[in-house]
């Protein structure tokens, strides 16, 4: 058994495994830049899977997997799901690590599943969507009880030119928060921070006033890594928009060009020179982020609130010492940086779902997956087989039985949670309760990205370089490698390297979307 799954793991890595149905598979392991081309050449013009009529409706899904074994293709959980949705389901599991390569290869092959997960709204997806490779779902969502309740901000985030091409897998929008040492705050007789100034005072005293009362100068305020997320979160408190904002003339401008951005940047520089953050953050790997906090060296982490769960799991002693705060008040009130709100979305290729009636069947299926019963199947499995309910909470059973356990592996990848997650959960810990509370409150003060659904050809082609110019300059400014002049130079380099064109294209697209009335779902302004 073990060897078999190992083998199938290896085969899967090589991308040449037989799927559960033994369907012919294609070459997909692509690493170099030239190999993909040939891989795509070889797989072109494969036979297309025609949607079958009759009952039950046969549906193929391609999605990402983190496990190797998913039980038998007709295992009881899948059977229950098929019965509930009146379909016959074939799931093509693709390892998450090379999922995007697989998407590109699949798109090129023409042999498409009826439902396909798209992880990122990248250039190749956008081009395919704009050329009509997928159904535009914008007009149809309203006909389905669950899908009609989709969150407008998230729909905007996944949209292309104001059109919605997928059903997103929802994640909390107000996920970003401040995780801090409550006991240190108490030791220093400080109140819970309410404003940016309070936040600064907390970091300062955590660094210089011996918050752990051990008589040693061995603590500092906030731990940051090479991942730039925390800076983005903090600058939002200063009034910096999420990605893009409107200037006085109503034109969209990138966050970096707003005056608030400079205020935030100066604040970060101050934190750095006063040693309130770790000195080598620019090279610190993000996977070591929690370590200084767990060891009691750093007192604050600004990131997703649920990071607190990880920390408490690693060091249970911290359970009653951790505080979580949604945001602190800045010049524009209480604001928090919205996340994208999704972890990939399911699209429906026109090639594999040629008719409107098939589309309706697929959409009805996806809608049903959001019912409480289906969500429970996907998240927990079957009651009495994978779990039992005790006081309304899930208790896993048969955890030693690999066969039963594997039946639900990765099925949660099919969970969309629209409008909400309705499945039963295990009994929450005090920390996870706090996390959920903060995220629910944060949802009300989320700052969305108004340009999330807009498209720029320049950005699609040069986005990484453009982002690097500004991101690198930001870090250099924080550590003092460049000054205000250097920042200005970076901005003008960015403008010249395509930034100006990028701004122009975003604004043109904004006007186009507005003119064509595609803003119905959009939370613009």
């Amino acid at each position: 058994m073990h060897l078999r799954s190992r083998l199938s793991a290896m085969v899967r890595m090589m991308g040449m495994n037989g799927s559960p149905t033994g369907k012919k598979r294609r070459l997909l392991a692509v690493t170099s830049t030239m190999v993909p081309a040939i891989a795509l050449m070889l797989v072109s013009n494969g036979p297309s899977v025609a949607a079958k009529d009759g009952q039950p409706f046969h549906i193929t899904i391609m999605t990402d997997a983190f496990n190797i074994d998913h039980g038998a293709p007709d295992n009881p959980v899948i059977q229950a799901l098929e019965k509930y949705t009146n379909t016959q389901i074939t799931i093509e599991w693709v390892p998450n690590t090379n999922y995007e390569d697989k998407v590109n290869a699949t798109l090129a092959s023409g042999d498409l599943p009826q439902v396909m997960l798209i992880l990122n709204k990248d250039g190749s997806f956008i081009n395919a969507a704009k050329s009509g490779a997928f159904w535009d779902l914008t007009p149809y969502l309203k006909n389905y009880p669950n899908l009609s309740q989709a969150n407008p901000t998230i729909l905007q985030n996944i949209s292309v030119d104001g059109r919605v091409y997928g059903i997103y897998r929802s994640r909390p929008l107000g996920r970003n928060a401040i995780i801090y040492r409550k006991d240190w705050l108490k030791n220093l007789h400080l109140p819970v921070p309410k404003t940016i100034d309070d936040f600064y005072k907390m970091l300062y005293d955590f660094t210089y006033k011996d918050p752990d009362k051990n008589g040693k100068n061995d603590t500092y305020g906030m731990v940051v890594t090479s991942y730039t997320g925390p800076w983005d979160i903090i600058q939002t408190w200063f009034g910096v928009p999420n990605g893009w904002g409107f200037d006085k003339t109503g034109k969209l401008i990138p966050a970096q060009l707003t005056p608030e951005y400079m205020n935030a940047l100066n604040f970060f520089h101050k934190l750095y020179v006063q040693h309130l953050v770790n000195k080598d953050f620019a090279v610190m790997p993000p996977d070591q982020w929690n370590t200084p906090f767990i060891n009691g060296q750093a007192g604050v982490i600004v990131d997703a609130a649920d990071r607190a769960n990880q920390i408490v799991k690693a060091n249970p002693k911290l359970a009653d010492k951790i505080g979580i705060l949604g945001a602190v008040r800045g010049p524009e009130g209480l604001r928090t940086l919205g996340t994208s709100g999704y972890a990939g979305f399911y699209v429906i290729p026109r090639k594999s779902v040629p008719t409107l009636s098939d589309l309706q069947k697929v959409l009805a299926f996806l809608d049903k997956l959001n019912d409480k019963y289906a969500q429970n199947l996907l998240w927990n499995g079957i009651e009495g087989r994978q779990y039992k309910l005790v006081k309304g909470y899930v208790q896993p059973i048969n955890t030693n039985n690999v066969t039963i356990h594997n039946e639900v592996n990765d099925l949660n990848q099919l969970l969309m949670g629209i409008p909400t997650n309705r499945y039963y959960t295990t009994e929450p810990t005090p920390t996870s309760k706090l996390v959920n509370q903060v995220m629910a409150q944060n949802a009300k003060i989320v700052v969305p990205n108004p340009a999330a659904g807009l498209y720029s050809q320049t950005y699609a082609q040069q986005g990484t370089q453009l982002d690097n110019i500004l991101n690198d300059a930001r870090i250099k400014y924080i550590v003092g490698q460049i000054d205000a002049n250097g920042w200005k130079n970076a901005i003008s380099l960015w403008r010249k390297s395509g930034g100006d064109q990028y701004i122009k294209e975003i604004n043109e697209d904004y006007q186009w979307v507005k003119k064509h009335g595609h803003l119905k779902y959009l939370a613009l302004k």
Binding site: T33, A37, A105, L107, N127, D280, P285, Q462, D472, V479
Partner: protein, 320 residues
């Protein structure tokens, strides 16, 4: 290269014709050898030569969902964009400088080590040292990068703790752009020097012991033996390796540079290999990055050919 027609080339030509007539006979005679050749040839055909057609997407605006046969052809546009890109000269400079550092500081290292090992007379000691110096080659680059971080970071790094203790100051090895190239070269020396000695040691093992004996009789000391016997014996190996190295002047090894790049040293760290990754893989500009890759390959082939030509001019054997 044009070769003047001389008597000897004419003769060689004639001989070749005689051989050609008997080629089929020779194939039949050595059929088992040819059959043994098939798997290897197939490997190169299937995995090297057929995929080579993929470079054609450098001349396309390749869209994965349209596939190779339906993507539009755009000629040399990608190449033009690349050469006009303000990043081009920065990338070229970084790539060449890193290669230069490697050739100057790393390339001689295995030669020196091989010569040192060659002078060791105790066999068990030599073998132990050899095994030890081979080991780093098998350590993944990811581990090497992690070790570098653990040693050099200013927050908790071992070396910076020592510097702080002894001199009261720290050095920002990882974030100061000036340190980027030295650290890359030092990593390479640490990791690959031992492995690089294999070829040289093999060449050294073939040196006739009588030469040394004769030299000793003539009164040559250790240095003279090294200079007049050992080094000439491995000269052709050095030249061949140098020629091959020239071919990869534009390759810096993606993994290592990528792992050591951060926001503060990117100006000196960006090389063609990482650029191809960022543009091609993270941005999905497959055609553009293929054009960059093709440019690299053409320059590499040209450099191999040139250095081979120069080596032959100087009386060395070369690789073809």
């Amino acid at each position: 290269m044009s070769i003047p027609v001389t008597d000897s080339t004419m003769k060689a030509h004639a001989e070749r014709q005689v051989k050609a007539t008997s080629a089929w006979q020779r194939i039949r005679r050595d059929k088992w050898l040819y059959i043994l050749l098939i798997p290897g040839s197939l490997y190169f055909l299937v995995f090297k030569y057929i995929p080579m057609w993929g470079v054609l997407i450098a001349f396309q605006n390749f869209e994965p969902w349209q596939g190779f046969f339906h993507s539009p052809w755009i000629g040399f546009t990608n190449f033009r964009l690349f050469f006009e890109n303000p990043d081009f000269f920065r990338l070229l400079r970084n790539t060449l400088l890193l290669s230069l550092y490697n050739i100057v500081f790393f390339f001689p290292a295995p030669i020196v080590l091989a010569l040192l090992l060659n002078e060791v007379r105790k066999a068990w000691f030599k073998r132990t040292v050899q095994t030890m110096v081979y080991l780093p080659h098998f350590v993944s680059m990811v581990i090497v990068a992690a070790l570098t971080y653990v040693f050099l970071t200013t927050d908790t790094g071992f070396i910076n703790q020592l510097l702080q203790h002894w001199f009261g100051r720290q050095v920002d090895f990882l974030t100061n752009p000036a340190w980027f190239r030295p650290i890359i070269v030092l990593q390479t020396i640490w990791k690959e020097t031992g492995w690089g000695t294999i070829l040289f040691l093999a060449a050294l093992a073939g040196v006739d012991v009588e030469l040394y004996e004769a030299a000793i009789v003539d009164g040559a000391n250790r240095w003279q033996q090294l200079w007049h016997i050992t080094l000439p014996a491995i000269r052709s190996t050095i030249v061949i390796l140098l020629i091959l190295r020239m071919g990869s002047v534009l390759d810096n090894g993606f993994e290592q540079v990528y792992l050591m790049t951060n926001a503060l040293n990117r100006d000196v760290a960006d090389v063609f290999d990482t650029y191809v990754y960022f543009v091609g893989i993270t941005q999905g500009s497959f055609s553009y990055s293929t054009a960059v890759g093709l440019f690299k390959a053409v320059v590499g082939a040209f450099l191999i050919w040139t250095s081979n030509y120069v080596a032959k001019k100087f009386g060395q054997s070369g690789i073809f």
